[in-house]
């Protein structure tokens, strides 16, 4: 097997043209997914069964099925339904980008809500009792005590999910989107050189992950600045 270095030099800039789309997918899905996750979290910890159970079911369904299958159901399945094609949502589902963002957001929302719940459950009871003794209401305790501590506790796992989401965006290439993976697959199909192209693509993702990881650990360090420990 020959390894064509000039091909890499030639094709990497082409693949980088898709980095914008990759980050649009990542940014939008992470944002919408986080909002969804917070809603699901509030439903889960509300203590009311009619809020808790639907949230649990939702999380079970979206964590229990592959993201690729979810993307296919939304992209290929939904348009088969007449009422979706005639609804106001059709412009979103007609567009492969809209389908990808919806699928990624719904999926990551389920995971992130469980990550956040872990953070909330990790908050020391004593702190909340102290808040109660000081006369803070339940809402105040949640906003001023639970939220900051839970955020700090959940951040490492949340960062992990964001990195995983970055890689999930590659699945958008299966529904015609020309993100970095979509461009790479097209180049491979034209040049028949899978090793060079896919290895370059893998390295690009690794570099992006490196920066994302650095960014997340900066936030972690900032939020944890008062609780730094020796080790």
């Amino acid at each position: 097997m020959s390894f064509d270095l000039s091909l890499i030099v030639e094709t990497v800039p082409k693949m980088l043209a898709g980095v914008g789309l990759t980050f649009q997918l990542l940014g939008l899905s992470a944002f919408l997914g986080l909002i969804l996750a917070i809603v699901l979290l509030l439903m889960r910890i509300s203590g009311k069964w009619y809020l808790d159970w639907p949230a649990q079911l939702y999380i079970y369904v979206f964590r229990g099925t592959p993201i690729l299958v979810q993307i296919f159901i939304i992209y290929y399945g939904f348009p088969q339904l007449e009422f979706i094609r005639e609804s106001v949502l059709w412009p979103i589902f007609r567009d492969p980008f809209g389908c990808a963002v919806v699928a990624l957001s719904l999926n990551t929302g389920a995971y992130v809500s469980e990550i956040l719940r872990g953070g909330v459950l990790g908050v020391d009871r004593g702190v909340l009792e102290a808040g109660e003794a000081l006369g803070l209401s339940t809402t105040q305790r949640f906003i001023y005590l639970t939220t900051p501590i839970a955020t700090r506790l959940a951040l490492p796992a949340y960062g992990n999910d964001i990195i995983s989401l970055l890689k999930s965006t590659a699945l958008a290439s299966t529904i015609t989107l020309m993100d970095m993976t979509g461009i790479a697959r097209t180049i491979v199909a034209q040049t028949y050189a899978p090793y060079e192209i896919f290895i370059s693509l893998a390295i690009i993702y690794m570099i992006l992950t490196f920066f994302l990881q650095k960014f997340i650990s900066l936030i972690e360090a900032y939020l944890g600045r008062y609780t730094k420990r020796e080790s």
Binding site: R85, V188, Y192
Partner: protein, 266 residues
């Protein structure tokens, strides 16, 4: 050293290497009706399958079919996942840089399909595309197909959407995600236009057959450096043409033969 050679000879004699034990693994999509696809009972059938079986019978080889997605077909052949491509693959210059082809066994053309009754005026009377009239249209194509090369060369500014298989093309044409698709007219007719879901759609272009893009036709792909195998495939295809077998295969699926009789000459 001598004894080692003797040992090997003896071993070969014992094991035996009968000529008919040659097994050729054939790569195809298995989803490209009516050329290679599975029936509801799971049998692999189609024109490509018939050709592969016909050739195998003439050259005296056993067949083993391997299903492979289109965009990975040539890499898989090169990676020795199978020995032959019999998957309606057109013979083109760029493909010939990587692999060899037998002589053709089917002609190769492309045609656009879109909503009927819209006079989009995409082609002038001599059959050349009018680029202005393509603006604003979303055209669905299979990734790395000859249709994509044709669009890149003739209509580089067209809004092209690339798909990994032919089935999603029709789905998204019906769903309205693309305005037109370019594909094989024989397949489009059988799979789509002649069916209920295809009512309301029609061919919106003449048959496009420029040899520089679509090649001289569809051939059997094989790895380079196998002149002997290529010669056997070529003569087998000629024999299929001259005995009328190829016409017979075509008439199972179409009302007309889909090869050029001249290919059987000489």
């Amino acid at each position: 050293m001598k004894s080692l050679t003797k040992l090997i000879c003896a071993a070969m004699f014992v094991i035996g290497v009968p000529a008919s034990a040659e097994t050729l693994r054939v790569g195809m999509e298995c989803t490209y009706a009516p050329f290679n696809y599975r029936t509801s009972s799971g049998d692999l059938v189609g024109y490509d399958v018939d050709v592969a079986k016909g050739v195998a019978e003439i050259i005296g080889a056993d067949l083993e079919f391997v299903c492979q997605q289109w965009d990975g077909m040539i890499p898989a052949l090169l990676a020795n996942k199978f020995d032959l491509i019999v998957a309606s693959m057109s013979i083109t210059e760029s493909r010939l840089e990587k692999i060899d082809f037998s002589s053709p066994y089917r002609d190769s053309v492309g045609r656009l399909v879109g909503k009927s009754g819209q006079d989009m005026n995409l082609f002038d009377p001599s059959g050349n595309p009018i680029p202005e009239n393509f603006s604003g249209l979303r055209i669905g194509l299979e990734r790395a197909s000859t249709y994509e090369s044709w669009f890149n060369a003739k209509l580089p500014n067209a809004n092209v959407v690339l798909y990994d298989g032919s089935e999603p093309l029709y789905l998204d044409l019906v769903n309205g995600r693309v305005d037109a698709i370019m594909t094989n007219p024989m397949k489009a007719h059988l799979r789509f236009l002649a069916k209920e879901e295809g009512s309301g759609f029609e061919f919106i272009s003449p048959a496009i057959s420029e040899v520089e893009f679509f090649g001289i036709g569809v051939g059997i792909g094989l790895r380079q450096g196998q002149p002997e195998l290529k010669a056997r495939l070529d003569s087998a295809i000629k024999k299929l043409i001259n005995t009328g077998k190829l016409t017979e295969y075509a008439l199972k699926y179409f009302p007309f033969p889909i090869h050029n009789e001249e290919w059987g000459d000489g």
